[in-house]
C-alpha cells in the first residue's frame, strides 16, 4: 500500500487521508466509541464524491476507478480508512455496488446504484451464519412461494445493519446459492444490535422470520450465485485485509514512537534488544501483510488466475498478523496501553474483530485446502 502504486493511487490515498483528518479524525472516532458526538452527516456523501464507492463499478453505470484495477484502488482507500479506524460499511457498500453492476436487474441498477455511488445510502453484506463462521450462504434458507421467496433463518456479524439502506442477503434456496437485495425496514426482518469488542463499528444479528420478498428482489438467477459469491468474498477479503494493514501500520508507528520517547534505566526503551527485537519481528509481519495484500488486490482486481486463493491467503495471514501485531504493540506500551484513554486498545479491538469477519483465519486455511482439491 506504499510501494508499486501509480501516482494517481498515491493521490487517491493522500486525498482520502486528508478528508478523514478533516471530517473524522481519531479524536472523533473515540468520541463516537464513547457514545458521544455524531458523525458529520455529510461524511458519506463527501466520501462518495472522492470515489469511495465507485471503484468496482464500470463508468457506463456511473462508477470508475483510477488505475484500471478497481479492487487495488479500493484497497488503497481501505488502507487509509483502516489507519484512522473509520466507521461505516465501506466494504458492504462496495460489494453491493459491484454485484449490482455485475448481476443486478436494470431496475435495481437504476434504483439503487446511484444512491450507493453518491453516498445517499449505504449497504451491508449479510454473509455470516449464526455460528459466526462458515459458507456465506449459511444461516438463511430461501423458499419459493407464490411470486417470490420467503426467507427464514438468521445472520450474524452484519455491520451497520441498522443504518444501511440495503442488505445483500446470501441464502441457500432449493436451486442452490441465491442472493437477495433486501431494503431496510422490510417486514419480518429484525435487526438486533450487539455489544462487541470493536468500539469503532456496530454489528448486528439479522433475523428473517418468514420475510416475503418478490422475485424482483433476486440478484442474478436463483441457484446460480456461486461464482458471484466467490467474487464478493474475494473482494471482501482483500478490502478487509487492506483496512487491517492500514490499522497495523498506524499502531506499529505509535508503538515505535513510544519506544523512542519512553526512557527507563537511563535510556530509551527502544534501545533494549528485548523491545527492539519484538518491534523488528512485528514490523516484518507488517511488511509481509502489505506484500500479501498488494498481491491479492492486484490479482483479484485483474481477475488473474489464483485470485480467489490469494484473497483467502491474505485474509488468513493478515488476520493472524493483525492480532499478533496489536498484542506486541500492547506489550511495548506497557500499562499505558491498558488505559481507556490510550488509542492502543481501539487498534487491538478493531484488528482482532476484523480477523473474525467473513471467515476467520482457520476457516480460510481450510478453504485453501478445499480449493486445491485436497
Amino acid at each position: 500500500m506504499d510501494v508499486d502504486l501509480i501516482d494517481d493511487q498515491i493521490l487517491l490515498r493522500d486525498t482520502t487521508t486528508r478528508f478523514i483528518e478533516m471530517t473524522c479524525p481519531l479524536a472523533t472516532v473515540k468520541e463516537l466509541a464513547d457514545g458521544k458526538g455524531q458523525l458529520d452527516s455529510n461524511y458519506l456523501r463527501q466520501a462518495a464524491a472522492l470515489g469511495w464507492f465507485a471503484m468496482l463499478v464500470p463508468e457506463e453505470l456511473g462508477g470508475g476507478n483510477v488505475s484500471g484495477n478497481g479492487v487495488l484502488d479500493a484497497a488503497v482507500i481501505a488502507y487509509a480508512r483502516g489507519a484512522k479506524l473509520q466507521p461505516g460499511s465501506f466494504i458492504g457498500t462496495n460489494v453491493l455496488a459491484m454485484t449490482l453492476a455485475l448481476e443486478g436487474s436494470p431496475d435495481q441498477q437504476g434504483a439503487v446504484l446511484p444512491s450507493l455511488l453518491e453516498g445517499r445510502a449505504s449497504a451491508t453484506w449479510a454473509a455470516t451464519g449464526p455460528t459466526g463462521v462458515g459458507e456465506p450462504t449459511a444461516g438463511v434458507r430461501a423458499d419459493r412461494r407464490r411470486n417470490g421467496y420467503v426467507l427464514l433463518g438468521s445472520k450474524s456479524l452484519v455491520q451497520d445493519a441498522s443504518s444501511a439502506g440495503w442488505l445483500l442477503v446470501t441464502t441457500l434456496a432449493e436451486e442452490g446459492p441465491t442472493q437477495f437485495l433486501v431494503p431496510a425496514e422490510t417486514p419480518g426482518m429484525a435487526v438486533i444490535g450487539r455489544d462487541g469488542l470493536d468500539l469503532t463499528r456496530s454489528f448486528f444479528d439479522v433475523v428473517f422470520d418468514e420475510v416475503e420478498l418478490p422475485s424482483s428482489a433476486l440478484v442474478g438467477r436463483p441457484g446460480a450465485a456461486t461464482a458471484t459469491i466467490d467474487r464478493q468474498l474475494a473482494v471482501t477479503c482483500v478490502l478487509s485485509a487492506a483496512e487491517s494493514v492500514g490499522a497495523m501500520d498506524r499502531d506499529l508507528a505509535l508503538a515505535v514512537q513510544y519506544a523512542k520517547d519512553r526512557t527507563a534505566f537511563g535510556r530509551p526503551i527502544g534501545s533494549f534488544q528485548a523491545i527492539k527485537h519484538l518491534l523488528a519481528d512485528t514490523s516484518l509481519l507488517l511488511e509481509m501483510s502489505k506484500a500479501v495484500t498488494f498481491a491479492a488486490a492486484t490479482a483479484v482486481g485483474s481477475e488473474a488466475e489464483g485470485g480467489t486463493e490469494m484473497a483467502s491467503i491474505a485474509k488468513a495471514f493478515v488476520g493472524d498478523s493483525g492480532i499478533d501485531l496489536a498484542q506486541s504493540c500492547f506489550q511495548v506500551f506497557g500499562g499505558i496501553g491498558f488505559t481507556w484513554e490510550h488509542d492502543q486498545h481501539l487498534y487491538l479491538r478493531r484488528l482482532t474483530t476484523e480477523a473474525f469477519l467473513f471467515g476467520d483465519p482457520a476457516w480460510h486455511r481450510e478453504r485453501l485446502c478445499h480449493l486445491a482439491g485436497l
Binding site: 523512542k260 527485537h277 518491534l279 523488528a280 514490523s283 498481491a295 485453501l368 486445491a372 485436497l374
Partner: protein
C-alpha cells in the same frame, strides 16, 4: 532518443536475445531428465572435487558461448548486458543441465558482485574472467572461532613486511572451502584503532603455502563446513580488495548482496502458485492424514507463509528499486527466512508424525523430513543470525536507538583485553 524508444530497443533486444539463448542452449547443453528435482536435500548431496571438475566443464562451455557474466562489463570477461538478460537466460536455461557448484555457486556470485564494487581494475581483469569461466570458485573466510555475529571482531591478522603481507589466524564455518580455489578473507590490519576501522579484505588462494583446510562434520551428516588455519601465508598488495583498513565498507556491500539474493537456500521452498506446499501434501498423504483437519491447518499454514515470503521478496525488490539498496530492508528477507524456515521444517514433522523420526536403514526419502528439520536452523544462524537482522531492522528501518557500545570507540586491542576482564568487572 526518447525514453520510450530506448525501452523499445531494450524490449526488442531481450526478445532477440531470448531466441539466441534458446538456440544456443539447445545446441550446447543437455536437457535435464524430466522432473528431476532442482533442489537437493542439503547434507545428502556431498560435492567431490572430481564431481566439481565436471561442473566446471559445463560452466566453461557457457562462458565460451558468451552466456556467462551477462551483466558483467566486457573488459572483465562479461557481456555488458542487463540483469533482465540474466533473468531471461536463467529462465530459458531451466530445462537444461547447468553447473551445480553446490554452496559455492552462490558464494562465488556474492564475492564477484562485491569485488565489482570495490576491487581495482587489475584485480578484476585478473580474477573475473576466470570466475566466469568456472576456473575460480570462491569461499568466504569470514567467521572465526571467536568472531561470528561480531564480524568486525575478527582476530586473524595481516602484517606488512616490505612489499608483502603475512597472514596468521584461523577461520571457520566456511562452507565448501575444500573444493574452493580462493577465499575472500577478512583480516585485521590495525589493532590500534576501533574495530571497524582496522579491517582489510584479501584474496587467499586455498593452495597457498601455510593454508590448511579441515572439514567439520555437521549434524546432518555432511562435512561441507570447513575450518582453515593460516600460518605465515604470504600475499601482496595485488591481493587486497578495497582499501587497506577500509574493509568494513566492503563487508556491508557483501552482506546486502547476500541477503538480497534470498538467503542460504538450505531448505526447499516451493513456488506457492503450484498450490499448497506440495511436499507437505505428499507427506500428509504418505502418512494417510490428508483428511485430518488439524493436519490440513498445518499444510495451509505453511502454504500461507510460503506465499507471504514469496511476495515479501518481490516487495523488497520494489522498495530497493525505488529507494536504493538498503541493508535494513534486505534484512526483512533474511529474517523472514530465518524465522519461517525452521517453523516450516517443524510443521513438516508434525504433519508426518511418528513416520518422520524413524526410517528404513539408508532410506534417503524416508529421512528427508528429519534432515530438513535439522537443517531448519541453518537460515536462522548462517549468514547473519536472526538477532542481527532484528538489530538491522530495528535500527536502520525503524530508527530505534542503538544499545550502548562497549567496543566501538576504543582501539581493538583494548576491546579484547576489557572483554577478557568482563567477568571480574564490578560496577
Amino acid at each position: 532518443m526518447s525514453f520510450e524508444q530506448e525501452m523499445d530497443d531494450v524490449m526488442i533486444d531481450l526478445e532477440t536475445f531470448r531466441r539466441g539463448a534458446r538456440a544456443w542452449l539447445d545446441a550446447n547443453l543437455e536437457r535435464r531428465a524430466e522432473r528431476e528435482p532442482r533442489v537437493h536435500l542439503r547434507g545428502m548431496d556431498h560435492k567431490t572435487v572430481e564431481g566439481i571438475a565436471e561442473e566446471r566443464k559445463i560452466q566453461r562451455r557457457i562462458y565460451d558461448g558468451g552466456y556467462s557474466g551477462l551483466s558483467v562489463p566486457v573488459v572483465y570477461g562479461g557481456r555488458g548486458l542487463t540483469a533482465s538478460h540474466e533473468a531471461v537466460f536463467e529462465e530459458e536455461a531451466q530445462p537444461y543441465v547447468t553447473p551445480d557448484f553446490g554452496v559455492l555457486g552462490r558464494t562465488t556470485d556474492v564475492c564477484a558482485r562485491t569485488m565489482l564494487s570495490h576491487a581495482v581494475d587489475d584485480f578484476l581483469k585478473r580474477h573475473l574472467p576466470r570466475i566466469l569461466a568456472g576456473e575460480e570458485l570462491w569461499v568466504q573466510f569470514f567467521s572465526e572461532p571467536d568472531a561470528g555475529s561480531d564480524l568486525a571482531g575478527v582476530r586473524t591478522r595481516a602484517e606488512r613486511q616490505g612489499s608483502r603481507w603475512i597472514l596468521n589466524g584461523s577461520k571457520t564455518w566456511s562452507s565448501g572451502s575444500y573444493y574452493a580455489d580462493y577465499g575472500l578473507c577478512l583480516v585485521r590490519t590495525n589493532s590500534d584503532v576501533p574495530k571497524h576501522r582496522g579491517l582489510t579484505w584479501f584474496a587467499v588462494p586455498t593452495t597457498a603455502p601455510g593454508v590448511t583446510i579441515r572439514s567439520i562434520k555437521q549434524i546432518n551428516g555432511d562435512d561441507e563446513f570447513c575450518e582453515e588455519f593460516l600460518e605465515d601465508v604470504e600475499l601482496t598488495d595485488d591481493d587486497v580488495i578495497g582499501d587497506v583498513d577500509g574493509g568494513w565498507a566492503v563487508a556491508q556491500t557483501m552482506l546486502v548482496h547476500e541477503r538480497g539474493g534470498g538467503g542460504t537456500s538450505a531448505l526447499p521452498v516451493p513456488v506457492p502458485s503450484q498450490g499448497p506446499a506440495p511436499d507437505l501434501v505428499a507427506l500428509a498423504r504418505q502418512a494417510g492424514r490428508e483428511k485430518d483437519p488439524a493436519v490440513r491447518q498445518l499444510i495451509a499454514r505453511a502454504h500461507v507463509n510460503d506465499f507471504a515470503r514469496h511476495q515479501l521478496t518481490r516487495r523488497i525488490a520494489s522498495r530497493m528499486r525505488s529507494s536504493g539498496i538498503d541493508a535494513g530492508v534486505a534484512a526483512y528477507g533474511k529474517l523472514a527466512e530465518g524465522t519461517l524456515a525452521p517453523l516450516r521444517a517443524r510443521l513438516a514433522l508434525e504433519i508426518a508424525g511418528g513416520t518422520a523420526v524413524l526410517w528404513e536403514h539408508g532410506d534417503i526419502a524416508g529421512m528427508t523430513t528429519a534432515v530438513n528439520y535439522l537443517n531448519g536452523r541453518i537460515p536462522s544462524i548462517a549468514g547473519g543470525t536472526n538477532e542481527m537482522q532484528r538489530n538491522g531492522i530495528g535500527e536502520r528501518v525503524l530508527g530505534l536507538p542503538r544499545e550502548p557500545s562497549f567496543d566501538s570507540n576504543k582501539p581493538f586491542s583494548e576491546v579484547v583485553r576489557d572483554a577478557r576482564n568482563w567477568k571480574s568487572r564490578v560496577d
